[in-house]
């Protein structure tokens, strides 16, 4: 089982020019390792809708990799998005499900079927062509660059230790840059950033798909 740091640090190193959309218990920790203008926090949003939101960016920007760091409780709220992503042939979409088995932000209440549910099997069943499961730090670090370079949609289930992140605000009290403005401002900013930049060419994987 990985810590959040063991999950996020390598991802920050290898994300390239990918958009990274976070939610729930990794939102604040991600801000410790990245301050990219291509980061988006799905906080103060609608719980369960992070994956579909990130999928929309992926479909809009087919030449850029889009990585979604979804929670397990959030994924359960919209399992249908697994089928939507497959149906939409989102080749540049990488969907992580961070398995801590709880709703951490509200006090670590267990998710339904905690300890028994297999998200990788759900993704296989939905038709994801690339599915990975990690619970060993070394294996994750070793394989991550190749996983991010795969043609997708790619599904990655990672077992992480539960933490004690509390509710997230969007204010100057948060140290993460992407949490210091409203979600509306974040959305409008990211649209401008994406309109004014194009992903790097082949050779700078994994961000671009050219």
């Amino acid at each position: 089982m990985l810590t959040k740091a063991q999950l996020l640090k390598p991802l920050a190193r290898h994300r390239g020019s990918a958009v990274v959309v976070t939610c729930m218990s990794v939102t604040r920790p991600w801000g410790r390792y990245s301050s990219s203008e291509l980061d988006f926090a799905s906080a103060d949003s609608a719980m369960g809708h992070t994956a579909d939101f990130a999928l929309g960016i992926a479909l809009a920007q087919p030449r850029r990799k889009v990585i979604c760091l979804n929670g397990d409780g959030s994924m359960l709220m919209t399992l249908g998005t697994l089928a939507t992503a497959v149906g939409a042939r989102a080749a540049n979409f990488v969907l992580f499900v961070i398995q801590n088995e709880t709703y951490e932000l509200t006090g670590n209440q267990p998710i339904p079927a905690a300890g028994r549910i297999d998200f990788a099997q759900l993704a296989w069943g939905a038709g994801f062509p690339r599915v990975h499961s990690f619970e060993d730090r070394g294996e994750y670090e070793k394989r991550l660059p190749d996983v991010l370079a795969e043609e997708g949609p790619v599904f990655v289930a990672v077992r992480v230790k539960r933490g004690s992140e509390g509710p997230i605000s969007r204010s100057g009290k948060e140290f993460s840059r992407y949490l210091q403005v409203s979600i509306a401002e974040s959305a409008h900013r990211l649209r401008k950033v994406l309109a004014s930049s194009s992903p790097r060419r082949r050779g700078s994987r994994p961000g671009g798909l050219e």
């Binding site: 609608a46 719980m47 579909d52 939101f53 929309g56 960016i57 809009a60 920007q61």
Partner: protein, 180 residues
């Protein structure tokens, strides 16, 4: 008076729509069928309508101009998705919403749109309970809406598209009959 799916699609294209997202029902299926074979506007089917609002928000952030297709029952399911994505992020999006049960509201005993609903309204077989709360729900959510009843209403597509863009918000057109 008919409502032509091809004419609706041409209007959407003229307004710059690049994606349609949602679940097409009987009324919208002629439009969805046209979209399947039209490379200029991509149709992305979803499994539940709440997904459509989040997905459309992502599409817009990514630089596209999405339109949402849903039945009013799906709109009712979408409450938190609409609130937490399109509305919270100030995403301009036009929604074409099938007004299932619209004709049932013409019954003599149907309540006026402004009258608060009571339990008897929902259990009355002559009334469609989804139709009963479609307009009040849109009003409560602050979504401006109009009606797409026939080809004569096609100019409203441009009007509501512009409204959504100008005010960075959702705007809805209620489709009261099956497209042909």
């Amino acid at each position: 008076m008919t409502l032509s799916a091809r004419s609706v699609l041409e209007e959407l294209k003229a307004c710059g729509a690049t994606f349609c997202v949602g679940l097409a029902d009987t009324a919208l299926s002629p439009l969805a069928a046209l979209l399947e074979n039209d490379p200029s506007v991509r149709f992305v089917p979803v499994t539940r309508e709440g997904e459509a609002f989040a997905l459309a928000s992502g599409l817009w952030v990514g630089g596209q101009n999405p339109v949402i297709l849903a039945q009013n029952t799906g709109l009712l399911e979408s409450g938190d998705g609409l609130r937490g994505t399109v509305q919270r992020m100030r995403v301009p999006v036009l929604c074409l919403i099938t007004y299932r049960g619209y004709s049932s509201l013409a019954a003599k005993d149907a309540p006026a749109p402004s009258r608060p609903r009571v339990p008897d309204d929902f259990s009355r077989p002559s009334l469609d309970s989804a139709a009963l709360i479609t307009e009040p729900t849109l009003s409560a959510w602050g979504v401006p809406f109009g009606f797409l009843k026939s080809n004569a209403d096609l100019p409203k597509i441009r009007k509501f598209f512009r409204l959504a863009r100008r005010e960075s918000r959702a705007a809805a057109l209620l489709v009261t009959k099956n497209m042909t």
